[in-house]
Amino acid sequence: MELDWWLDFLLAVLRAATPLLFCALGVLACERAGILNIGVEGSMLAGALAAVLGAVFTGNPWLGVAAAILTGLLAGLVLAGMTVYLPADQIATGIAFNLVSIGVTSFIYRLLVEGGVRLMAPSLNWGQAGGWLEPLTARLAIIPPLTLLALILVIGVQVLLFSTGPGLLWRSVGESARAAHAAGLSVLRVRSLALLGGSVLGALGGAALTLGWVPTFVDNMTMGRGFIGLAAVYFGRWRPDLMFFACLLFGAGEALAFRAQAMGAGLNPYYYLMLPYVLTLAAVAIVGMAMGPRDAGKPFLRG
C-alpha cells in the first residue's frame, strides 16, 4: 500500500475513533465515581442534534459544540437527579433515558424538517477558530479539532486519575462509597458532577459524530456508538490509556470494514460490515471477567 493510502486510513480511524473516545471517557469518568453511565448513548444522540442545530442556526460550528455541551449538562442533570438522588436503578434509568432520547430527538428533528429547516451544518475545522490562532491552527490542520480535544482529555484524565490527589478521591468514591463518605467526601455531589461531566463528554461525542464527521442529523444516528464506547472502557480495564487503544481498535475495525469492501475481495459485504461488532465482542470476551470499580452501579444511600 502506498503512503497515501495509509495516511487516508489513519485519518479515517481517527474520525471513527473520536466519537468513541468522547463516549468512552464519559463512561469512564462516571464508573470511576461509581455510576454506570448507560445513558451515554442518549447523551450522545442529544448532543449530536444540539450540535447540528447550534451550527445551523448560528452558522458557526464552534457554537454548535457549545450547544452540545449545554445539552450534555442538561442530560447530566436529569440523569443525576434520577440515579444519584432518587436513586432509581442505574441500568434501567440509562436504558429508559436512551429510548426517550431517541424519541425526543426524532420528534424535534421532524418538527424542524416539517418547518422547512435544512439540517446541513458547516463542518467544524480550524478555519473558523479565529484569525489570531492561525499560526497554530495551520500546523494542526491535519488533526481535526475535536480529535485533538479528545486526545488532550484522554491524557488529562489519565494523569488526573492516577497521579493526583483529587484523582485518588475520585477513584475512592467509585471503589467504596462508604469509605469516601466516612472520609468526609460528599458521595452524592461527586457522583452528580461525574454524571454531568460524563454526559457532557457523551454530548461532545455526538458533536464529533456530526460536526466532526457528517454535519447533519438523522433519526437515531448514533446507532449504538455509545455502547461501543462502553465496551472500550471495559476492554481498557477502566484506564484511559488502554481505553484509548481500545477506541482506536474499534475505529480501525470500522475504517477497515469499509476499505476491505472497497478493495473488492468479493466476499459478501455483510462479512466486512460485522467486523467492528465482532471486534467489540471479541475484545470483551478476551478481557473476560475484568473487575471494574467495586461500587459502580450501586446506589449510595446515606445513613
Binding site: 493526583t164 490527589g165 483529587p166 485518588l168 478521591l169 477513584r171 475512592s172 471503589e175 467504596s176 462508604r178 469509605a179 469516601a180 463518605h181 466516612a182 472520609a183 468526609g184 473487575m291 470499580p293 467495586r294 445513613g303
Partner: protein, 515 residues
C-alpha cells in the same frame, strides 16, 4: 494540614452528651442518655442488641442527628451542622464494624485519602509516606504501605483503619465491636494496642457485648439497656456478673443448663474428601473429611473466610462440590437436590439470615414454613392451609418466645434476635436428623443467645447430629463434644471436649499448629 504525631492529653477532648433522645418511628432508640467521657480513658460501652450503643456513638460522630439533647466537645456545645467531618476535625474518629476501606487501593492510599483535598492537585506524596511510616512504626503496626488493602488480613485492615484515624489527628477513637472479626490472638493484640493508645493520651470508646474484653481493656464500663443509660462503673469496682445483670431486664441466672447428651457410637453424617472451589484459584474447601454421630454436636472453628461457609453450603447443596462424598445415614446424597436433602432430614441455619434464611417481605408465619410449604399439613393439592400455618406459628411464638405483635407481620418488622429465633425454629422443627448450624447466635443478645444454645442442645439430645459453625470460641467450648479447626479450606486440628484450650484453638485458627 493537621498532622499531629504525638497528640498528648491536652489535645484530647472531653466529651459530654446530655439528654440525648433519638427515635426511629415508634421505637425509642435513645431515651435521654447522658454520658461523659474523660480524656485519656478507655470506656467500654456494653449492652444487648438494640440497647442503643452504636446509635449513641453515631450521634456523637455526627452521622445521626438527635431528636433532643446537647453535645459538648471540650466544653463547647456543637451546632446543628455537626457532621462526621466536623467530628473528625475535632479529633473524634469512629471505626465501624464494617470497615470503611477501599480494598483495591493500597494501605498508604487508604490512610491518606481523608487528608486529600479536591483543590490540591499535587499532594506531597513523599512527606505523607514518611509520616505514615513513622506513625505505623510508633504503634508497632507491620503494614505493607504499598500492599493492597484487600490482600491483607482482617486484623491488619483494622490497623489500617486505626492508622487512618490517627493520621487525621484523632485523639478520641470510637470502635464498634472491633473484635467481632478477629482471632483470639488478634483480639489480644488489639486490646494491648488500646493500652498503648491510652498511654499516648488518646481516649477510646469500645462498643462491645463481650464482657471479658470490656473488663480486660477498659477503665470504666457504661451499661445501656433499651435506649437508657443504666450505670457507669469503674471496672475495678464491679464484676462481670453484676454488669451482665444490669444488661438484661429479667432476672437472668448465668449459664443455662447445657448438659450434653451422651453421644452414640454410630455415624449419622459422614463426609469424605470434600472439595469445593474453582480451577486456577485457592480451593475453598480442600479435602475435608468429618463424621458426626446422633446426639452429637461437632463444632467448626476458624477465622471467617477459611472455608467454613463453603463447607456448610456444600453440605446443604447450595454449592456443588467438585469431589468427595457426603453420606447421610448410609445414603450418599452428593448428587441430591436441596429439596431432597431437606426431605431426608437435613436442616440448615444459614450464616446470613437476611441473605439465605428468610424472605423479609413475607410474614412470620409464611417464613416459618418456607421449606415445608409443599407438604402437609401446610398445603393440600398446592393450596396453602392458612389455619395450620397459624397454629404452627402460634406454637413457635410461644415455644421460642418470639416477640411479635402477630404471626402475620412481615419478618422485616422483627428485631434481629426475633428473626433468628424464627429461622432456628424452622430448622429445628419436625425432628431433624442432621442440622448444619452456621453462626446461630451471631449478633444476638445474651438472653436470645442462651435460648438458642439451649434449643440446639435439646435438639441433639432428641437424636439429631449437629454441625455447629461459630466464630465464638466460648460457644463452641460450651456446646460441643468435639471441635474441628479449619484453616485455608482444610481441617487442621480436632480437639475433644476434654482438652479444649482457647490458646491452642487460636493458634490452630491462624494455621500455626497442626495436630
Amino acid at each position: 494540614m493537621p498532622i499531629n504525631l504525638n497528640p498528648i492529653s491536652d489535645t484530647a477532648v472531653a466529651v459530654q452528651m446530655e439528654g440525648i433522645c433519638k427515635s426511629f418511628g415508634p421505637v425509642k432508640a435513645l431515651d435521654s442518655v447522658s454520658l461523659t467521657v474523660e480524656p485519656g480513658e478507655i470506656r467500654a460501652l456494653v449492652g444487648e442488641n438494640g440497647a442503643g450503643k452504636t446509635t449513641l456513638m453515631t450521634v456523637l460522630y455526627g452521622m445521626l442527628r438527635p431528636d433532643r439533647g446537647q453535645l459538648r466537645i471540650a466544653g463547647r456545645e456543637v451546632g446543628r451542622d455537626w457532621s462526621p467531618k466536623r467530628a473528625m476535625s475535632a479529633g473524634i474518629g469512629m471505626i465501624h464494624q464494617h470497615f470503611s476501606l477501599v480494598p483495591n487501593h493500597t494501605v498508604l492510599e487508604n490512610v491518606l485519602m481523608p487528608q486529600l483535598r479536591w483543590t490540591r492537585l499535587r499532594p506531597e506524596w513523599a512527606r505523607h509516606r514518611k509520616t505514615v511510616q513513622g506513625l505505623s512504626e510508633q504503634y508497632g503496626f507491620a503494614l505493607p504501605l504499598d500492599g493492597q488493602v484487600g490482600a491483607i488480613s482482617v486484623g491488619q485492615q483494622q490497623q489500617v483503619e486505626i492508622l487512618k484515624m490517627l493520621y487525621q489527628g484523632a485523639s478520641f477513637l470510637i470502635m464498634d465491636e472491633p473484635t467481632a472479626v478477629l482471632t483470639p490472638q488478634q483480639t489480644d493484640a488489639l486490646l494491648a494496642l488500646l493500652g498503648r493508645l491510652r498511654a499516648q493520651g488518646h481516649t477510646v470508646v469500645l462498643i462491645t457485648h463481650k464482657l471479658a474484653e470490656a473488663f480486660a481493656a477498659a477503665d470504666n464500663i457504661t451499661v445501656l439497656r433499651r435506649g437508657k443509660l443504666i450505670t457507669t462503673v469503674p471496672c475495678e469496682h464491679t464484676t462481670p456478673q453484676a454488669v451482665a445483670g444490669a444488661m438484661v431486664e429479667r432476672d437472668w441466672s448465668g449459664d443455662v443448663d447445657l448438659r450434653l447428651p451422651e453421644r452414640e457410637t454410630s455415624w449419622r453424617l459422614e463426609v469424605k474428601d470434600l472439595v469445593v472451589g474453582e480451577d486456577h484459584r485457592q480451593l475453598e474447601v480442600d479435602g475435608v473429611s468429618l463424621a458426626i454421630g446422633p446426639r452429637e454436636i461437632v463444632g467448626v472453628a476458624g477465622v471467617a473466610g477459611n472455608g467454613q461457609t463453603e463447607l456448610a453450603e456444600a453440605l446443604v447443596g447450595l454449592r456443588i462440590a467438585r469431589a468427595g462424598t457426603v453420606v447421610l445415614a448410609g445414603q450418599d446424597l452428593s448428587a441430591w437436590s436441596i429439596a431432597r436433602r431437606l426431605q431426608s432430614g437435613l436442616r440448615y441455619i444459614p450464616e446470613n439470615r437476611h441473605l439465605n434464611g428468610m424472605v423479609a417481605d413475607l410474614t412470620l408465619a409464611e417464613n416459618l414454613i418456607l421449606d415445608r410449604s409443599e407438604s402437609p399439613p401446610f398445603s393440600a393439592r398446592g393450596v396453602l392451609n392458612r389455619r395450620a400455618m397459624g397454629r404452627a406459628a402460634a406454637e413457635t411464638i410461644a415455644d421460642y418466645d418470639v416477640r411479635t405483635p402477630s404471626p402475620d407481620v412481615p419478618m422485616s418488622h422483627l428485631s434481629g434476635g426475633n428473626q433468628q429465633r424464627v429461622v432456628v425454629a424452622r430448622a429445628l422443627a419436625s425432628r431433624p436428623r442432621v442440622v448444619i448450624a452456621c453462626q446461630p447466635t451471631r449478633g444476638l443478645d445474651i438472653s436470645a443467645t442462651a435460648y438458642i444454645r439451649k434449643r440446639l442442645v435439646q435438639c441433639a439430645s432428641e437424636g439429631a447430629a449437629i454441625l455447629l459453625f461459630s466464630s465464638e470460641i466460648e460457644e463452641l467450648i460450651q456446646l460441643c463434644h468435639r471441635m474441628l479447626v479449619m484453616y485455608r479450606g482444610r481441617v487442621v486440628g480436632e480437639l475433644d471436649a476434654s482438652n479444649f484450650d482457647t490458646a491452642i484453638i487460636g493458634l490452630m485458627m491462624s494455621g500455626q499448629v497442626a495436630s
